[in-house]
Symmetry: C2
Subunit: 342 residues, 2 copies
Amino acid sequence: MPDVSIKEVAKLASVSIATVSRCINNPEKVTQKTRLKVQEAIVATGYSPNTLAQSFRRGRTNLIMVVLPSIGDPFFTAVMHGIRSAAKAKGYSVLIEETQHDTMTADEVNAMLVSRQTDGIILLATMSPFGTEVLSANSRRRLPIVVGCEKVSSELADLPSVHIDNVSAAREATSYLISQGHERIGMIYGQVSSLLTRDRELGYRAAMKAAKLPINTGWVTEGKLSIAGARQATRELLNQPDRPTAIFCANDEMAIGCLHEVKAAGLSVPDDMSVIGFDDIRYAEVMDPPLTTISQPAAEIGERVVYRLCRRIDEGRGNGDNESEIVPHKLVIRDSVGEPAD
Amino acid sequence: MPDVSIKEVAKLASVSIATVSRCINNPEKVTQKTRLKVQEAIVATGYSPNTLAQSFRRGRTNLIMVVLPSIGDPFFTAVMHGIRSAAKAKGYSVLIEETQHDTMTADEVNAMLVSRQTDGIILLATMSPFGTEVLSANSRRRLPIVVGCEKVSSELADLPSVHIDNVSAAREATSYLISQGHERIGMIYGQVSSLLTRDRELGYRAAMKAAKLPINTGWVTEGKLSIAGARQATRELLNQPDRPTAIFCANDEMAIGCLHEVKAAGLSVPDDMSVIGFDDIRYAEVMDPPLTTISQPAAEIGERVVYRLCRRIDEGRGNGDNESEIVPHKLVIRDSVGEPAD
DNA sequence: TATCGCAGAGTAAACGTTTACAATAAGGCG
DNA sequence: CGCCTTATTGTAAACGTTTACTCTGCGATA
């Protein structure tokens, strides 16, 4: 019996469909006797509610969409685990959309958004320019949105967000290099457009400035958040006349590429070149040498973001609660940073 | 104007709602004149169809579910890219469910399945025991299912699938080790329950047998498809009295852990120990040493799986087309395999 | 015993589409 | 000019739920 609806159940139990519905959704509003009768009929018919009809009627899909640059980055995978488990606990499924790989344009996200296919949206590290487009399109019909992993820019600041203090963390990473004696420090950032990347670059520059260290042109290059991009960037860095003795990579994915390229150039890490990453993805500790990096509570970020979003959904996108929530980061010292050879 | 429905458009354009609907779905059935009028009304009102209502009415969600062990494994990420792009081309969104991390039990998948939340299911390397549970539950209401990355076992053989020849590929990897002079070869497999793992183990054993090489007890251990599991397994392998000179890992994720642990034990790769992986994930080539491995056309598998699934969905799960489709693999020789030290 | 209150069950409308069918308009042909 | 065919539009039902409202009947209270 492929398609059994509430009607068959009602007939079999000789009650009205309303009663069947109540048995399922508000069991306390129904006599024990009828409830049992209906239960029986349900198993007898093999009935299960048509979720499409439910969604339609209730006006919610129990689906949340998360938009992120790339699910391939183990850091985001880790965030996703937090998101998933929290979402599951709250009864939601999650739809993942990637911006990096052209899977979806802002227009398409907006289309989904406006056609009510999802109950809310999580934007992970996609605030610029993608996220802002989504936001402005969403200004009319205000679907709940929460931002994760980065701070939302001030003009659109009416969005809740959960993230570490990227500026401080980057400053800390850079300061650590300085404390080890490095003075010529390069950086590989992610993408010009990415807020997150900009914050990390800000922190790096702040630390250098505080230590009164110069930053040569050519020491700061774009790694495109990918291994390939970072390898290219590293090659350029290594070719600088007065090349750095240490490199700060804006994430571990790029640090892995950087590490490889430095070693491929015949240099030893950390003896000839120190490398520090960001995120503490699961590969960091099995690199050779194990990567010193900044660790983020990825799963926790994911969970918190979901809770924030659910709150918004439940209260019909209420008033306040637009603050950004800072979670703690941590410098994890392994073996990829040493003292400069000088 | 938050919630504008087809009715408002109809009123504004002074036509019936049926006409509006036709303008959207069957424009050719409508006069150019009215079509324009309606178009205008649509933009004027800012109307966009309520997808929930559409799904409900049409009985399809345009959502496909893919179930896989772990999205964190870069190999599956790569398959997912293929799936995504093909799905997008076909107008589907994809819902990802992971089995590994307890995100979802077979029962829950079945619940979604039976409640028609998705139009079809892709099972990636999850045929046992998870997948088989799903299958048997699905035997009544037969939702389209396609299997990817592994061969479906014979009893349930009425499922289309797309995969490489895992047995042959594993045989090839092992033979390559043998051709380099190795005789004592260990293996780290994934999980006892995984079909895919079993096939790769079969290939390994076949190659050893063909070369008349013995396999000591303790040379074949479980790496749980994770870095941590593989590290543990590697330690055990290294502690064997007559330990192997080469290790075949059933996937790259485990090979990375293995590599690390071998080096941590003070051994050189490939001088003291050769390591070969499987999948050719993007980290393989930046390992130290770069990993020799079997490459799979991950994205292509993903695409083909989607096309197969769409065919099934469109033809209302027609008769034939249950064959398994074999895509080619390739041995990628890098630097993690050498001749034994002996 | 009559009345009131209330719990439990039923009736029917509503959600926003799509679509079979009916109706109308238009156009061609005799 | 009238009739028949066809192209276009309108009408209304249907999809499977949920839920506001109505109704029934029972027990308690006066």
